[in-house]
Symmetry: C2
Subunit: 496 residues, 2 copies
């Protein structure tokens, strides 16, 4: 079939069985500023009852954006929203009120602190769905979470929507969690208090994905976004555990040129990194790269030449925020870092990672979500992702805390299954997963290995054992493995 | 429904009408080197008759990768492939043989030079489909082109597939065309002659998308990949046209602080950039950004402080290749630059672009694809994309070349419709699209404007008019507007 098109040319509309549309119109593409107010942006994105809004947590306990967005939703009379944040903190205390007011009735994302505490006692009509960083990325990519409006906080953005977390007074480091939201959400709003000249010099989020730039007074409180300094713990017990982690790495033979390690910002983990850095220096070893969160401590190792590359997904202190502005070292977003549906995650190459725990059990299952009283107080973060990625996944924790045993017969909630946990380093010795015969073989002559049951017994002897929890049939939340399957259920505990 | 999962926990499989899969297994994720030979990679990616292979053209006339891939396909006895390259050059002369041997029978992508010449006389069973840079990106994104195997040349890659064009002896600048292929192809092969330590320092292509890294002796001839230097034309006529382009910009009032302009590498376009740079200096104006291809000339303007940002998608000379290794200025890939299905293209903000033409007509239609003898010898490139994006899209060309009129009654092939072309600057004067009354108003007192018909008449007087072509009913190719509709058909010309 031939047809005359709008350019006056006669063209075929069917060629070899394929249909072709004739040209109809060519117009100039122009652009106009995407800057507006937050309520206007929400209205233009069609905010209405029952939608899903996503947020990242990189403003941490200094975040104003999640609260102000829900406040605008309440002002607009909207109900029954789902939030799909990467995490909530104590600063999100007003969320309790938004739940009570019916503004939100579903949460898929981490609920740390006060919000988790509230929901533990007042479950939502739908359980909170907890996923790891990589698991969440995959869920958004696959459509398991459908985001109607992605609300992305940025410390700088231009009027066309290119946005970063690297520049500005409220800089928090590269926006690492939100590209997948930007790519898959129906609508995207960048929220910033800092409109910069086009084009924004860094742009983890690019204009191609952005509908509106909502300008607000302040996205957050800079004193609570990143910590001023990286403080290493001075608690002798924690230092002892940290030392044990590095001793184990050394005995396992992984402290060698081109090693890849995960740097964390937790107390014991950070101290372990300090000891690791000292050992790299002492042995004159050059690691290949450090993944995870960036701190002054890690940058110092980098500057000393003992790690070649920084593959950071987050930035934890002022020093690191300044550093990334001027460096060519690339951030690795969460998809690069941990998407389990990809053809390669940076953390698959981890030689080792040091992770924390609220509880561990004799099957090496780890809990980081609930406390021993059953309250849901923490997210999964990168725990599952890195444990599965690291050749030597080390859990560091004391045998007991106050009156609570930490090494248990059964963890209250499974965050990370024992099958991907290699060793548990405590103040009373190191337990190695019996499945890791190769590892036991390697280290047995260099280190004292303690059976995990022995650590559990010590914990029970010192504390009288775990408190007995009585569960109701109300579902508070579920933990998912990063492949999307359900690992565990968190039930409401009957309280007196 | 409650079910006991593989972690021993009892979990709900249906919650609020949604189905949840119980956890079944957690395994360590490991990685192994993706490095193999090219034939092995092709076999493992399931190469077979009828598949579509994609390539980028950033090794330009120095490219070995397209030819060697098709050679391997021939060795494997594979037939009827489609190639979806971003462009072919004279170096791809062997493609003629691959066509004759039946290895390929379909091409969707630019065919510059010898291959285009051959197909013009020997059409394939399917017409060559020509798209602009942005149109191709959108076609891959939307699935209009389905890529079975993306073959991505890289001047450096690590064993896990992170790859760049910025580093190495055969560096050609950031890989700008292939991310969309990497994201949407069923299989992805990075081809390199330079395996570097993990992680590759730049990584326009990330391991998350890559199946195999094919190591080859040489990906190309560095002398033909980028030019040694940026030479400005010394042809007085071309310089005169270039000067006219800048005079027009000046008269139109767009040479002002924060202007955005496209830098090209063509003869007249480059000379125009030189004059523009001088004028920015003279008037002490600071432009916002320069988009497009990077050359020493543009970098000099940047270093002089007269353009704040370089938003480059390609790198054209040795000097620029060296420059991008050490700069924090970001490359903008083709999706950012020109994807018409995005929520914002960098080029939508272009104040002006200077483009070339093989022919223009009295309706301001432009042809860059075919010559006046009807042979298909060039691709569309960014012509359509930037013309539609720029407020002032300038076509620069002489009124005639040798015995061929360039300004015509009707172009042989429509590449870019007149509705997005604002002005034609020739050695015999400047014609402005009559639809642009505002522009005519602005410049009429400052410049001599010539009716386009007058330029056509000059061309016809000097040459005796265009050669009369007699077309057959064999379809050589089609040009598409970047929205996917068919602009024009290229028919085989009857030759004596």
């Amino acid at each position: 079939m031939k047809e005359k098109n709008a350019a006056g040319r006669t063209v075929e509309t069917t060629i070899a069985g394929k249909t072709y549309k004739p040209f109809s119109i060519a117009k100039k593409h122009s652009w106009s500023s995407k800057v507006t107010s937050l309520p206007d942006a929400l209205k233009k994105c069609g905010l209405k009852d029952g939608l899903t809004l996503s947020f990242h947590h990189q403003l941490r306990n200094g975040d104003f954006v999640l609260n102000m967005t829900l406040e605008e939703a309440r002002n607009l009379g909207v109900k029954n929203l789902m939030t799909a944040q990467t995490a909530m903190f104590n600063v999100h205390n007003p969320v309790i009120e938004f739940i009570q007011d019916g503004v939100i009735n579903r949460i898929e994302g981490s609920v740390n602190g006060v919000v988790g505490d509230y929901i533990s006692n007042n479950p939502l009509p739908y359980p909170v769905v907890l996923r790891s960083h990589g698991g969440r990325w995959a869920a958004v990519k696959k459509g398991e979470i459908h985001i109607d409006i992605a609300v992305i906080a940025a410390s700088a953005a231009d009027v066309r929507g290119n946005a970063t977390g690297i520049l500005g007074e409220n800089a928090f480091g590269p926006i690492s969690y939100s590209e997948v939201d930007a790519m898959h959400a129906d609508h995207v709003i960048v929220v910033t208090d800092n409109i910069v000249d086009y084009p924004c010099k860094f742009q983890e989020i690019q204009e191609r994905y952005v509908d509106y730039v909502a300008e607000v007074d302040r996205i957050g409180d800079p004193n609570k976004i990143v910590s001023g300094t990286t403080k290493i713990t001075e608690d002798p017990m924690k230092l002892q555990i940290a030392r044990g982690c590095v001793d184990l790495m050394d005995a396992a033979g992984i402290i060698r040129n081109d090693m890849v390690f995960q740097s964390g910002a937790g107390g014991i983990s950070l101290a372990a990194m300090k000891y690791l850095g000292e050992l790299l220096e002492e042995k004159n070893i050059v690691a290949s790269c450090a993944t995870g969160g960036l701190t002054k401590l890690i940058i110092d190792i980098y500057k000393s030449g003992h790690v070649k590359h920084l593959y950071y997904s987050q930035v934890f202190d002022d020093y690191s925020v300044d550093f990334v502005k001027d460096t060519l070292e690339m951030p690795a977003d969460i998809g690069h870092y941990a998407d389990p549906t990809s053809k390669g995650r940076t953390i698959d190459g981890l030689d080792t990672v040091v992770l924390g725990a609220t509880e561990v059990d004799v099957n090496f299952n780890v809990n980081v979500n609930t406390h021993s009283d059953g309250r849901l107080l923490h997210g999964i973060g990168g725990h599952q992702d890195t444990a599965a990625g690291a050749s030597l996944a080390i859990i560091s924790c004391p045998v007991f805390r106050k009156t609570n045993p930490i090494v248990l017969e059964n963890v209250t909630t499974i965050t990370t299954p024992g099958s991907v946990v290699d060793a548990i380093v405590t103040n009373e010795g190191i337990a190695i997963n019996p499945k890791r015969k190769d590892l036991i073989e390697k280290v047995r002559d260099k280190l004292d290995i303690v059976p995990i049951e022995e650590l559990k017994n010590m914990a029970y002897d010192a504390t009288g054992g775990p408190q007995k929890l009585e569960f109701t049939d109300e579902l508070v939340g579920i933990t998912k493995w990063f492949d999307g399957t359900v690992l565990d259920a968190i039930w409401k505990v009957k309280r007196n």
